[in-house]
Structures are given as structure tokens and as C-alpha cells.
Symmetry: C2
Subunit: 444 residues, 2 copies
Amino acid sequence: MNAADLGLPVAVPSTALFTDQYELTMLQAALRGGTADRRSVFEVFTRRLPEGRRYGVVAGTGRVLDAVENFRFDDAMLAFLRERGIVDEPTLAWLAAYRFGGDIWGYPEGEVYFPGSPILRVEGSFAECVLLETVILSILNHDSAIAAAASRMSAAAGGRGLIEMGARRTHELAAVAASRAAYVGGFDSTSDLAAGFRYGIPTVGTSAHAFTLLHDTERDAFRVQVEALGRGTTLLVDTYDVGEAVRTAVEVAGPGLGAVRIDSGDLLLVAHRVRQQLDELGARDTRIVVTSDLDEYAIASLAAAPVDAYGVGTQLVTGSGHPTGSMVYKLVARADSADPTAPLRPVAKRSLGGKMSVGGRKWAARRLDAEGVAEAEVVGTGAVPEELAGRLLQRQLVKAGEVVAREPLEAARERHIAARAGLPLSAVQLSRGEPVLPTEYVTP
Amino acid sequence: MNAADLGLPVAVPSTALFTDQYELTMLQAALRGGTADRRSVFEVFTRRLPEGRRYGVVAGTGRVLDAVENFRFDDAMLAFLRERGIVDEPTLAWLAAYRFGGDIWGYPEGEVYFPGSPILRVEGSFAECVLLETVILSILNHDSAIAAAASRMSAAAGGRGLIEMGARRTHELAAVAASRAAYVGGFDSTSDLAAGFRYGIPTVGTSAHAFTLLHDTERDAFRVQVEALGRGTTLLVDTYDVGEAVRTAVEVAGPGLGAVRIDSGDLLLVAHRVRQQLDELGARDTRIVVTSDLDEYAIASLAAAPVDAYGVGTQLVTGSGHPTGSMVYKLVARADSADPTAPLRPVAKRSLGGKMSVGGRKWAARRLDAEGVAEAEVVGTGAVPEELAGRLLQRQLVKAGEVVAREPLEAARERHIAARAGLPLSAVQLSRGEPVLPTEYVTP
């Protein structure tokens, strides 16, 4: 993927209103109270993985960088805030000049994570950091949920093709982000043209049942499709009778037919029958694509079936039972004054009720066992133990407001495959279990 | 809500690539095969409600109208399709001139629906209708899922306030649509500024734990907040000890304090204690807002607690266990030729496997019993029985390509409240059950 493949914008011009109102009211109060400029460290982490999941997948980091760059209040937005009386004039003036000028460190995209992993760290004045909470969490919680489901599906699929087809089951722009996250998690292509346009993801798709129904006979439909798209196309064979359709398909396209798609019925049974029929008709290289309500378990159950590619929709874009992450954005350290040299003091919520946090600016490293397999996620404050210095997970993503770590999507995808391969084998078991790595805290 | 409140754009300039590739390849094949101009009728419906749900809520209709209007292929999009070789030159030329010129009828936004309800009907040439499948389904499946969850929550909340706070748990633009759908389903306000900006939904929000942690003491934080935002503000009282925080809050703001927010712990217990404490401190009008992982069941369980408003996040924007609808977009009738006077022939997929459809262009009506309560969703082809003529549900939304039914969001919200009130009382029971109305089919 070259620089041109970084894609074209399918995005709103500004991300500044993807913000919960309390961020602006806190800003106003802090500006007035003289505490807005206290140097602050916010961290993104999750207290737990979705129940039964063995690992999480960081996705959306590239979108976070776009969002931070485009977080600017334009005149229409400022007018809205003024008319609604959401903040006062000094705050509006401050917002009009807003550009994030701090630093962001984080797990690179595609990396795996565990409870407590400091996935992202945002440093700067309280004022400049507090505004980014909602948009950062929206992106990471959504995209990471999809990537985690995609990763499980890609592990279940072995080397077979995986097509993301879920656009119709999620918000139209969430769908574009879902395609992107699915690609990071190991999918190969998408049906969503906007995802191809924006992120350079390979796109696929040929026809639906409506196309067959439009024509007077199935044979007419197949003939028209093959004439228009070539014999390498994929013919949908379950509008009427699958056996008849496969016979007609090979008659019309010849044994060089690219693929057939099956979208209903008992896929295991039907795939075996269709494979046998295709082979008998001499169409030994015609591929079989299946696409009906698949999830990682259905994919795994088809491992012994003669299936070449899986199209996955609903369960992928809804995170296979876990449509969002539970990442939070917490103040973990701050200075006692606006003096830029003032030391950072760890802070944490202390009330009862299970929402405890660990204060302090954290590093993270993945410790390996003697065989080079990951054995623990180590999270600490203070000095990094020497033996972990080469295993640190966070990288600088933004430096004094400038994005310093943009990369092609392909890099995140490859990183994910490598990161998953470095985990204990039980990581890719589909059965429910505990996180495959324990999180160990090291405090001075 | 007046016309100005229809809002400002937070949207991409064109919706044309929110499309699965197969729609364009079908178009190319149909153009080449001479079948593209056959008059066609597509319908949106669902074969079933999410398990246990009693009714569905139509939401997103207004966004569908925006999407149809903005469905235009600009030069960058056409260049992308050409470079990727997705369609041929005649198809590109056709797309460059594309404007939907047909008719759309549908259930008005906020109306309830049941399995088989023809929620939307799109009529025109096959070519112009087939392109709209994905974007229409994306919007309706997403928005209706959120509105259905919102409706259950609003029924559970009785007349108490409901604040949508889920932006951080879903894609940043899905969040804006979710706020809109939640409002249709009965929510009162949102924390999401973009939803206020785009749709005029009332916005709320004051402060997070980070604001308390930024300050040297909780008292400092409260004082700064009250000075900046007034004593009508909402103070967050669970950063350290709730009892101490409530006492401090009333000391700082006086008994005229607007509200306190509790975000953790056993909300039932804590709300009772806080109410008692506030009353003892003379803050009898100070409201209590609770916001921790609520869903419709948690809201119902707090019915006897002294809670004034609920803030709902994750479970709302993920559809409370059902993050998407299962609506489909199916060709149900088409002409045998491109002759505009050719009669429409009902069509339907016939294969086995549970994905059956009913062919033919449908009307729908809600039949009432003697007491005026809905007793059946009647769906038919052919002539409408006289006794149902006044109960038809579909309205014309687009006429020859022009949107004819734009309305303020408030209208959809009021319609939903009225439609739900017209259902049997068991509709608003939270327990799982069958759809509260049976769907009856009437065919000539």
C-alpha cells in the first residue's frame, strides 16, 4: 500500500462536536477557576474484557489521529454553543483558538490488549485533553469491538477468504469504520464501496436475489450477469432450487465459472452437495462462497465443508455479541498548579462500587516466557525494569500536537496477525475463558 | 420546533458510496441485458422482531429522505469506480446522471411495526431502486434498533427524565443518529453536542470525575463549578465518599443546588440515602440523577427510588441486547418489460431455508377492536377492505424523486407516544413475549 492508498475523505470536516456537553462545561469551570492549565495525563483503558473473551484488539488508532487533527470549532459550531448558552464568551474564545498541542502515546493499531492495558495516553493541559474524551472513546470502543470479533472469525476461518458484508446492519458511517476494523482484524475484503474509497480496502460483490427475480428465468439472469461481468463472476444459486441453479450456472458460464454463492439453508449440507455437483460438471475450480448469518462459531463448524470464502455481516458489525468496548478515559495524574515544571501527582477515584482506577502515568510491556510466548501484560508506574525495556508497547503517536505515527492500514493488519501469533495458543480457542494473559501491576 | 430547528448538516456530502458493490454490478448487468428499466417495487420489512420484543419502532425515516436526496456520484467517486474497474463506462455514465426519480411510501417515523409490516416501499425502475438498498437498510436497521430500546426505557421510566449519554460507546456518527432515534423513542435530552447541533435535541451535561480529581479538594471542585455554572448545576457526588460529597455540595451551592449525580454503587440504596440527606439539609428541590450502566430493567427496578432522571449510555446505543434490526429490502413486483404501462408481476424467492418472502406490492393497516385498541397488523395485496380504508399506515414520502414528507423530529416523537399508547397494554411489559399484535395477510 503506498501513500496514495491512505485514501480519500469520507468524514465530516470537524470532529469537535462529537463531544459530550460536560467536557465544555468542565472547561468553562476550569478556565474560570484557574485550573484549566494544570498539566494532566489521561489514560484510556478497560477494566475488563467482554465476558469470555481471551484478548482485545486495538483498532481505530488511525481514526483517532484524524479526529484529533480535525478537532476544531468552526463558526457555525461556536454560534450553536453561544445560542444555546452552553458555555460563556471567554470559553467560546478559547474554543475558537483550540488546537490540541499535547502528546499522545498508545498501543499501535492491531496490537492486542488486556484489562488495565494503557491503550492510549493523552498528555497536555487539563483543558486541551478533557475535550477529547468522547471522540476518542467513540472511535476506540467501536472499532476495537469490531476488530475483536473479526480476529476471532479470522482465526476460525484458517486461511479461507473473509468478506465483510455488514453495511446494511449498522449505521452507514459506522459501517465504513467497521470495514476498516475488520480488515485490521484479518478480513480480506468488503462489500462496502465507501470503505474501498476511503481506506483502499479491496471490494467485492456481484448480485442479489433481486437480480434473478428481475428476469423471466434464472437462466436469463445468469446469462445477462455472465455477459456483463464475465465468467469469473459469482452466481447466486439459492433463489429457487440450488441443484437446478448450479446446473444452469455451469451451462451458462461453462466450467470456468468463478464462484457460486449460497445464502440460505443448511450450509454444511448444501456446500457438500454443491461441491460434488460442480466437480461432476467439470467446474473443479469454481469456488463456493457462503453468506448466511455467520459468526465465528458457524465459520468454525464449516471447517470441514468445501467452502472457499465466508461473507459475514450482522455478527461482525455488531461485535459478535459485544458491540462496544468498555474503555474509559480517566485522569490519572495532574500538576498542582499551572507551572509547567510542577511535578505530576497521581490521582484516582476512590469511591465504592467497583469503578476503581489505578492512578499515575503508566508504561506497559509484554513479558515473554523462555519460548518467546507472551506470558504477562505488565503495567507499571515509575521506572521500567531493565528486562522489560525492550518490550514496551506504547509508541508516540502525537508530539506537541503533530501526528507522528501515521501508517497504512496494511501495517496494522500485519501487526495484529503477529501480535496474536505471539500469544499462548489458547488465545484463539473460541470457548469462553479468562484473558489469556494476566495483567501484573508494578508500582515503585 | 420550527423550520430552523430542522438543523444543520453533520453529514457527508454524498451518500452514494454507502452501497454494497453488488448493487453496481447488478446495475451494469441489467443495463447491458436490457432489464434495467423494468418498473420495480422493492419493500423493506422484517421477518421477525428481536427475540422477546413486543413491537418495533420505525426510526430513521427522515435520515433516509436525506440520504436519497444526497445519493449522487461525484467525480472523485466515479474516478474510484473507474480505477478499480468496478463497473464499465456505460454504467459510469449512467451513475454520473443518477438521481432517484421514483416514489417512496412508508410507515411514518415513530410508528410501531411488526413482522411483515411493509415499513418502506420504493418504486421506480429496477436500476434506480436497486442502488438504494444498503443505505436505506443501514439507516433503518440502526436507528430502529435504538428507538426500540429507547421506547422500552421510556415506558419503564414513567414520566421521569431520560438523558441519552451513549456517544462514547458507539461510532461517533452512529452516536448522533442514536441520539436522534432515542429522542423519537421518548428520551428527553442528550449529552451529545453534535446531536444538538444537527437535530435540535436538547443537550445537557456538567462534569465528570476528572474535574473533581483536577482540584486539590472536592470542595474546591464544587466551588469552581458552582461559580462557573451557577447553583442550578449538577454536582457529581461519587468521586470519594458520597455522604461527605452531598454535605459539601449543599454547603457550597446552598439548598438551591440543581441536582446531584450518582454514577456508581447500589443506586437504589444510595439514591434513598442521598434523598434523605438532601432533605435533611433543606435541599428538598435538589434533583437526583443516576447514570451507571442502566437499561430498561434497571430503570424499572428504580421506580420506587427517589430518582428524578436517568442517564443511559451503553445499553441504549447498543439497542439493549439487539444492536440492529433484521430488515431486508426485497424486490416484490416488477414489470415484464421496460414499457411503463406494463403490469407489475409479484415475485418472491422460493428456495428452502426459512428466508421466504411474500410477493406483491402491499398495503398495511392496523385493525382496532371495539374499544379502539389495536388488535392486528393487516398486510395485503390487491384492494383494501372498506373497513380498513381509514386505518392505512403507509404515507407517501417521495413523489417522482421529490421529498414530500419532511417533518420536525418532534412530530415523530409525538407519533411514537401515540402509536405505543394505541397498542394493548402488554406492549409495554418488559418481560419477553410474542409480538403484541399478530400480522394477518390478506391476498385477493
